[in-house]
């Protein structure tokens, strides 16, 4: 408060609602931000605008019938959700997946990681104000991956491809040549994006040192995936707890050092390169054989509980399923990566500007379908 003569100037923080309808809240997320001019003093996240009660719906569907609904969780990367859920049920029922199906799953899951990071990086850069150019370039690459998914399962968004004990259909004959062609173009495209913005001074100024998430805090908040790895937590479930057949492939875990927005962006791009490596190895080794174990359609897993987690593109995605030996799960809990990754947002944005709030939020990469479920 400043006083000049008789006039008294008073400043007070004001509350600004970001969302639920806002260009860069990635869906219907809402933050009640308390601002002091341009500086963010505090935010309060408000969820629930997309709550559909998927966990309750699971209790009324058969084990197989829930797979289409897992597509609707994280709708940017539904294949990973399919995979996580199927792994959980397989763990519960003790099903061994045929070799070819495992390879197909790995290829598809890594393609899904590429597709998700295209969106994550693209929308993060456009949140930094890059006028949709990187977004468009990355969407173009995602489009090529979606073409491949379309070829495999007949849909471009809600795949419903993985099945308990394998995958629904074998990959068609033209899939591997097309994948080969895609693998030929992708490294060049990644290089193009790197030229576009990697060293751009404005982007560096906007993201370097902004929204630092310290390592200890990342662990304490249960952050996983590229956000945690950006903070220097070398934790990747594909290495730490190899599910499926990930222990057969060679790849590195890229990590950041500082934990700022730029590190998270870099980690995602580096992860895309590692995914390409995994796909290349899997393509070479893919065996022939059955693609699905003998599993009844209305499977009744023995009573018990199981938790299976995968390294989804956004982080640790887990399914905790309790069975009572009926055709439907007794309880199905989804460990929502996006929701838990948002825990640290409040601490990360305090003291930064409004523009940084958007950039930091964009760098976490959430999907509202998974946050609200």
């Amino acid at each position: 408060m400043t006083t000049t003569g008789e006039i008294t100037f008073k400043t007070e923080p004001f509350v600004l609602n970001f969302g639920p309808v806002h260009p860069s809240t990635h869906g219907v997320y809402r933050m009640r931000a308390t601002l002091d001019g341009e500086v963010v003093l505090d935010i309060e996240p408000v969820f629930g605008y997309l709550h559909r009660g998927i966990e309750k719906l699971a209790e009324e569907r058969t084990y197989t019938g829930f797979i289409p609904l897992t597509d609707r969780l994280d709708y940017i990367s539904p294949m990973s959700n399919n995979l996580g859920y199927c792994l959980a049920v397989e763990k519960l029922a003790g099903i061994k997946v045929p070799e070819r199906a495992e390879y197909i799953r790995v290829i598809i899951a890594e393609l899904q990681r590429l597709a998700n990071h295209c969106i994550a990086v693209g929308s993060f850069l456009s949140d930094c104000g890059a006028m949709f150019t990187p977004f468009m370039y990355m969407f173009r690459e995602r489009e090529k991956i979606l073409d491949l998914f379309d070829m495999v399962c007949g849909q471009r968004l809600t795949y419903n491809y993985m099945r308990i004990g394998g995958v629904s259909q074998d990959i068609p004959d033209e899939f591997l040549p097309a994948l080969h062609k895609f693998m030929g173009t992708m490294p060049g495209m990644i290089e193009e994006w790197e030229n576009l913005l990697k060293q751009n001074e404005i982007l560096l100024a906007r993201t370097k040192g902004v929204g630092i998430l310290p390592r200890e805090m990342a662990i304490n908040c249960g952050i996983s995936g590229p956000v945690a790895r950006g903070s220097g937590v070398k934790w990747d479930l594909r290495k730490a707890d190899p599910y499926s057949i990930y222990d057969r492939f060679e790849f590195d875990i890229p990590t950041g050092e500082v934990g700022d927005c730029y590190d998270r962006y870099r980690v995602r791009v580096e992860e895309m390169k590692q995914s390409l490596r995994i796909i290349k190895q899997a393509m070479e080794k893919i065996p022939s054989g059955p693609i699905r174990a003998e599993v009844p359609h209305l499977i009744r897993p023995p009573a018990g509980e199981a938790y299976a987690h995968i390294e989804a593109p956004k982080g640790e995605l887990g399914f905790y399923i309790v069975s009572d030996n009926s055709i439907a799960p007794y309880r199905c809990h989804v460990r929502p990566t996006s929701l838990i990754n948002l825990t640290a947002l409040r601490e990360m944005v305090k003291g930064w500007k409004v523009a940084d709030l958007i950039a930091i939020f964009g760098s976490i990469d959430i999907t509202m379908g998974e946050v609200d479920r």
Binding site: F47, G48, H51, V233, P242, Y320, R331, R335, L339, A344
Partner: protein, 147 residues
């Protein structure tokens, strides 16, 4: 590979430290009494050799007679994991101590359980409904919830 810790060993360790706190040492999970949950969780987090610093998830299951709250903890350093459970038999007003003080990651998840399952987390800094709106009647994930 993340190793699930042998429950029997941990149970005997904990039993030594906090006698009478363990309800059941099942094959793959450790069921503890809810009033000693915080102490045990703190013990698991800070003891050398255990170091469960990473909080995977917390969820709750409605078994009609009781609610079971399930915690899974992982140690990034030793790459082992344990499932911790606690039960609350009070159906009218179930309550469990909150672990947000130990692992901040439990914040939104505990709010979610409070919202959908109706279990109060004592000591949670901001315990209110997260997905449903204020004033919503009932808790949808309970098995006896009817539209």
């Amino acid at each position: 590979m993340t190793v699930p810790l042998a429950i029997k060993e941990i149970a005997s360790q904990i039993e030594k430290k906090y006698p009478g706190s363990i309800e059941e040492a099942a094959q793959n999970s450790l069921v503890v009494k809810s009033d000693s949950l915080l102490a045990i969780a703190g013990y698991l987090k800070d003891t050398e050799g255990l170091k469960f610093d990473y909080f995977n998830y917390v969820t709750a299951v409605d078994y009609y007679t009781y609610f079971e709250v399930v915690y899974q903890l992982t140690s990034l350093e030793f790459n082992h994991t344990v499932i911790l459970k606690t039960r609350c038999y009070n159906r009218e007003n179930p309550a469990v101590p909150s672990v947000t003080g130990l692992w901040q990651g439990a914040d939104f998840q505990e709010r979610e359980i409070f919202d959908l399952m109706g279990i109060r987390f004592e000591g949670h800094p901001n315990l209110k409904r997260i997905f449903l709106w204020e004033g919503f009647q009932g808790h949808p994930l309970r098995k006896d919830y009817l539209q």
